[in-house]
Amino acid sequence: MAQAVAPQVFTRRASGLVRVMSPYSAFIYNILTMGIIFPWTYVWAPTAFQGSNLVLGIGFAFLFELPIALAYVWLATALPRSGGDYVFQSRVFGGGFGFTVVFAFFVVWILQWVALSGWLLAVLGFAPTLIGLGVSMENQTLINWGANVASANGIIVVSVLNALVSLVLLVSGFRNYVRFQYLMWYAILASFGVMLLLFFTTNPGEATGRLNEFALGAGGVPDFFQTAKAAAADAGVNFNPPFWLFGTLMVAPIAWTSLQWATYSVEQGGEIKNAHVFRNQFFIIVGSLIATAGLLILLAIAMGVGIGQDGILVASSGYWYGVGEATIAGTFLMPNMIAIGLTTSPILIAVIGIGYILNSFQIVCNCYIGTTRIMVAQGLDGLLPDWFARIHPKWKTPVNAHIAYFLAAIPVIVAYNKYSEWVRWTLGVTFANGAVMTLSALAAALLPYRAAKLYEASPGAKYRLGNTPAVTLIGALGFLFGAFMVGSFLFVKDLGLAFSNDAFPYYIVAGTAAFGLIVYWIMRTLKAQKGIRVEYAFAEIPPE
């Protein structure tokens, strides 16, 4: 041995593996999906849980979601495939369970989100923007348009167009969406920045005056805020509530309806570049969670500075108690609507409005993206007809699944906006979606035991706490926290299924689960008749 050398790898010429979406794009995707525009934490929690602390509540939601998000990092690196939650649960729990849960509670229930995204676009995007521009430019036509777009028929039209434009964009190529996503990202950042600036540079006294002027310009009463506050008090709002720790804890499930989507990028895991790399998934999932939680907390602080607790409670009373006096031109005082009311600049109003409009549009896009990838994965596993799994040869997208989902969403959009009972029937949406993520956290905890070879080959396998795989402890913790929040949706009156004091919403949830199970059974039977066992899709072959 004459000398030491630093050996390099010897290569021959061969093809390489490649993927599509960059980790940064996936990070953005998750932030947009979590919806820093979602208003519920600010307009639902304050009056539903009077005495709660929004900042602390969002903080709790972050802490509860953190182990769930970490558990997903392990899952996403061990199984970097499209159809994420379905793939995780079917490989750990088995196909029947994984299919039923993810098909029923994601694919079916996210149809409600398609309708909701249209509602967001109309009520949170177009209406405040048009009303704001109308008031600032003294243009009654714009104000009327703003009011009309938030009517039931207006929302239906906007929702269907929203879903249709999204369908065309996504069918034409995922790359087109990824490009457009940058526009949505920069638009919402600008919008959010302007809102924070307006709130932080205002105080509650000034805000009252500006909102009164704004409401008057939109056809409201001269002393709008004082009138709204009095009506809110009559409706039961306590403007000096003592701090309520349990109420603050109950803010967490509401904020979780945003933060739980930090993991949603896993549904297109097969299209994310280097999705198997641990630090990439950490950045995509945990990074986006931290960023979004930070922005939500910042907005809560900013609103406290800008309009004070009274302003937050007045805005919330309009949404949660249905206090008509606490709306402007029939539109709820969502955070962006309030921010628009604080300025007379049409440019600032347009910046806020465009960001909210584009982020609302992103919500319907992510509904499609996630669910169609799940349907493709289920189609490839033989649990949905092959038709759903077909990728268009020219556009390279699951066109059939997209079209099917669009068509399925139309009646849901109409029902959501036309039939008052629909909202009561579908109170289970928060429970259903949360249950999927909670069960995936459990799947992560069991991964080393239920899919040992797969786990051992994953990059997260090297992390252990004593003799226990780290993912088992983190997943178990995530499951407990998730179960707490999902349990809240089940049993706490102001949070979900228990709201209407009857069993029907529970039956709907059970019915969707039964529907998923029936689809599984039918497909399994049909496959068996053709000499195929669908269980093979989930089984790991021993190498020895």
Binding site: R12, H392, L454, K530
Partner: protein, 332 residues
């Protein structure tokens, strides 16, 4: 002789398991062999690309330790246990290794011809071992395994298929071989040109000529299983990143900040599927393009590949009377 022909109309379907692109990965190949019993199939069909992509020199250091570089990191191996673990990782990844002194390493460094020769020696050894393992594991069963090369495999390495010692391994390379009483397997391992200049690339017209030539030996195309490594062009089974071949190594083509994707398959394969209407088209080559499509009555599949993670992606197909009556993608 059974009353019904195996695979014939009215009889039991022939169930085959198809996988491809395992690129030297030992655990993935072992899973492939075990798939016969695990999935209860009648035949194992491999779709090409047996050879691994990297060779890791493990260089002896002073004091009896070893040094190697893997995935961008230096590894210092100081015990037999560490060496066994390191070899196991290399086996999973499908890489070859050679233990050598520094002088020997320097004799290879920068000499591509010598490196390629060493690749061939090690790959052929591994393939010969795999053939023997198949004979051992499938011995006493009715299951046969059909092996062939892909565009990544050199002719020198594939010559191991000419020396099959038993009757369980079928050399399917560029041949028509019987599958059951009614169907045949038609195999072509070439691909269209890639930016990586792999050993068995052919122009699309050349692939077309190869198909024409081999089809002369097929009595009934409707009873043929096309085992063509290269997928049909623009079929959704062939979507991959577009690479700039003007630089080495080729780099992704980026437009407007996003990578560009395109179909890298063969028009000749697409034409053959459309015009010949075989029982089924089985394809590989593009690892990330798992999926299915159809040409008239003929379904075509690419199960994709994740060999580097030790995952065997595959496909079970049940055929009877010249028709696919069921299929199931697997990932085990």
């Amino acid at each position: 002789m059974p009353f019904w022909k195996k695979g014939g109309s009215g009889g039991d379907p022939t169930r085959l398991f198809y996988a491809c692109d395992i690129h030297g990965s030992e655990p993935t190949y072992r899973k492939f062999l075990n798939a016969a019993k695990f999935y209860d199939v009648d035949a194992l069909i491999f779709g090409g690309d047996l050879m691994g992509k990297l060779l890791i020199p493990i260089v002896r250091e002073a004091g009896g330790t070893w040094r190697a570089r893997l995935q961008g990191q230096d590894h210092h191996i100081t015990s037999d246990e560490q060496m066994a673990e390191f070899r196991k990782i290399l086996q999973t990844l499908g890489f070859y290794w050679q233990e050598m002194d520094p002088e020997e390493y320097l004799e290879y460094e920068g000499k591509q011809d010598r490196i390629d020769d060493l690749f061939d020696v090690l790959a052929k050894e591994r393939l010969a071992g795999w053939i023997a393992l198949a004979e051992e594991r499938l011995g006493g069963t009715h299951v046969k395994v059909y092996l062939c090369g892909g565009n990544d495999d050199t002719d020198e390495v594939l010559s191991a298929l000419e020396e099959v010692p038993g009757d369980r391994v079928v050399n399917a390379e560029n041949r028509v071989v019987p599958l059951d009483d009614e169907h045949v397997v038609v195999t072509i391992g070439y691909s269209t040109p890639t930016p990586w200049e792999t050993p068995r690339e052919r122009t699309d017209p050349e692939i077309g000529e190869a198909i024409e030539k081999i089809m002369a030996d097929v009595p009934d195309p409707s009873r043929a299983v096309f085992n063509f490594h290269c997928p049909p062009l623009d079929s959704s089974l062939d979507t991959c990143l577009k690479l700039d071949a003007s630089v080495w190594p080729p780099t992704p083509v980026i437009e407007n900040g996003q990578p560009v994707y395109y179909g890298a398959g063969s028009q000749s394969v697409a034409d053959a599927l459309a015009s010949r209407q075989p029982t089924v088209g089985l394809h590989g080559h593009i690892h990330e393009s798992r999926g299915m499509t159809s040409y008239g009555r003929t379904p075509a599949y690419n199960p994709g590949s994740e060999y580097g993670e030790g995952v065997l992606r595959g496909l079970i197909v049940a055929i009877r009377g010249g028709e696919v009556i069921g299929h199931q993608f697997t990932s085990g």
